[in-house]
């Protein structure tokens, strides 16, 4: 890595566009909301910034902590599933003939150009009690004469539970995992794999000891891109979840909408961000230590 003083022109040319855009269209508006999180509602529309910590104190109530905890584990499971599915897919695309790759990538991303809400409704149409999947299973059931042997097909109740929320989230966030993985696996130096195999390691060992460590940056960025937005998700739990599907994103949305309590909504949002930051900082810390050891 270069010291920035060695090439100031390139440094500023690469640094300024991002800094400018982020400051103007993100940090300034965010600062307004951050201020709000230390404010109080003085009327229906007015918010006075009083420097109070009352909103944060309220966020530490048990019920909100429970919801945050629930959001974390639901997102963690969904994120792990996403990784488990996306990794082989990205791997397969990278090892397919070069002229197929753009097409396969496009095929992965194509469903995501359909609006999230429509896609979720389509998912509902597939999974509901009288949905396509249940009709298909019933057809199979009857095909195997199970209706004669055991009795009529009982449709599965697949929607409106936490499992449905997890499946929905995996479905929604798939490309955000595939793309960074693809970008890293694609540049994987295959001679390392060959060396490992030549030296007698099995495919399995090679995968865990060579491929995974070498593609770690892609895994990490994929997890970040997927896990964090999952934490704040509200539409999927809203539409696919049952009666206790509430996640922190739903609570935050409610504060900004029906409850009309922007200071509290702001405090909850920032709390979520502080938590994520802590996690990211921890990762960077651990990452820098292990990098020092391995010397990559």
């Amino acid at each position: 890595m270069e010291n920035w003083k060695e090439n100031r022109v390139v440094f500023w040319v690469t640094a300024l566009p991002g800094i400018f855009w982020l400051t103007v269209f993100f940090l300034i508006p965010l600062a307004l909301i951050w201020g709000m999180s230390f404010g109080e509602k003085t009327s229906i529309v007015d918010i006075e910034i009083t420097g109070t910590f009352a909103n944060y104190a309220r966020a530490f109530k048990e019920v909100y902590l429970l919801i945050i905890w629930k959001s974390i584990w639901i997102s963690a499971i969904a994120c792990a599933l996403c990784l488990a599915i996306a990794y082989p897919i990205a791997f397969g695309i990278c090892f397919s003939p070069p002229r197929w790759r753009p097409l396969l990538l496009l095929l992965i991303i194509l469903p995501f150009w359909i609006n999230l809400l429509i896609r979720t409704y389509a998912l509902i149409a597939v999974f509901r009690t009288r949905g396509t999947l249940n009709y298909f299973l019933e057809w199979l059931w009857n095909l195997a004469f199970m209706d004669k042997l055991i009795g009529p097909y009982e449709p599965l109740e697949l929607l409106y539970n936490n499992g449905a929320v997890i499946v929905g989230m995996v479905y929604v966030f798939m490309p955000f995992m595939v793309l960074p993985l693809y970008a890293t696996i694609e540049r994987l130096d295959r001679s390392y794999l060959e060396a490992s195999l030549d030296l007698g390691a099995s495919q399995w060992t090679t995968f865990w000891k060579v491929t995974v460590p070498l593609t770690m940056p892609g895994i990490v960025s994929g997890v970040i891109l997927v896990f964090i937005p999952m934490l704040g998700m509200f539409l999927v739990p809203d539409l696919l979840g049952g009666t206790n599907a509430i996640m922190i994103g739903n609570v935050i949305t409610d504060q900004f909408k029906a409850a009309n309590d922007w200071p509290f909504g702001a405090a909850l949002s920032f709390l979520l961000m502080y938590v994520t930051f802590l996690a990211l900082a921890l990762r960077a810390f651990i990452g820098s230590r292990s990098r020092g050891r391995v010397g990559v």
Partner: protein, 356 residues
Amino acid sequence: MTYKPRFMTSRRSVLKGTGAAFIGLTFMPYKAMAEEEKKLNFYNWDTYIGENTLADFNKATGIEVKMDLYADNAELFAKLKEGNPGYDVIVPTNDYVERMIAAGMLEELDHSKILNMSNIADAFKDAAFDPGRKHSIPYMWGTLGHGYRKSKVEDAGSWKASLEGDTHAGRIALLGDGESVIGIALKYLGHSFNSVDPAEMKAAEELLIAGKKNVKAYADDNGQDLLASGEVDLAMEWNGDIIQVMAEDEDLSYVVPSEGSLLWQDCVCIPKGAPHPDNAHAFLNYILDADAGAHIADTIQYATANAAAKAKMSEEYTGNPGIFPTDEVIAKCEPSLYSEEKTRLRSESWTRIQAA
């Protein structure tokens, strides 16, 4: 420091430095105009206007109406709270009308430009939430009740069916709007829909938590879909939504439970800062017209507050108890009243119910 949503002078100093960069990037609905252009921006619910109303209005006045849609009152409120991005006519529900009046977000109506106000039914000529109808004209009204599958549910006549007891376990959908669900639970327990009494609120919360195991989902405005697709047999829903699916499935029906329910009223208002206030008044006047009102009611099948329009409608519409409940039923219903305290308490309680 105070945030002043519509009079931003206090923020000027902050923005002075960077403001110039944004100049072109903001919405500029407020143009200095000598005369109002023949345009109108109408912000409405989906499927909530007559099929040809906008085209007919254009023919009658030459004003071109552009209609945008929102999905719920809270969205409308959040969007207009920081300043009107350019809408001329909006359709909030009564408690939100009250809230928006309190927040100074609605333009005062010039009654001399809305001569058709005489067509409004007597019961709606005045309103507690808007004394003297200074800011709103009534549009449609209705109830909250049970939508149900006749072949499966026999006890839909009481809220007990959806709130208590295991008769329909796993086959029930409640609304996703906590304020209304808690209000209905209060009503079932014999209290006021608008109660903020801690003991009553607590009882309602406990009732809803205990009933959770029987409820399949808290449906956000799609209870009628769950009902029509056979996912549930019983849904707490708005009458109009159920009437829509009833037209396609004969086995479905709607009833207002005997404990009473919520009576809502959607109103047409002009938000502060509307760029075309004259056109907006003309539009308000137009929808209160007898023929135009009848056409709207005919399309959307909600109960109209326009007496002259109702007089022109068929027996099939005026005699439908799902649309026009009897006076006895109405007597047991209550409107939702606006209060910031109620909103906050209900929202907290609803979060606890969902997290339980």
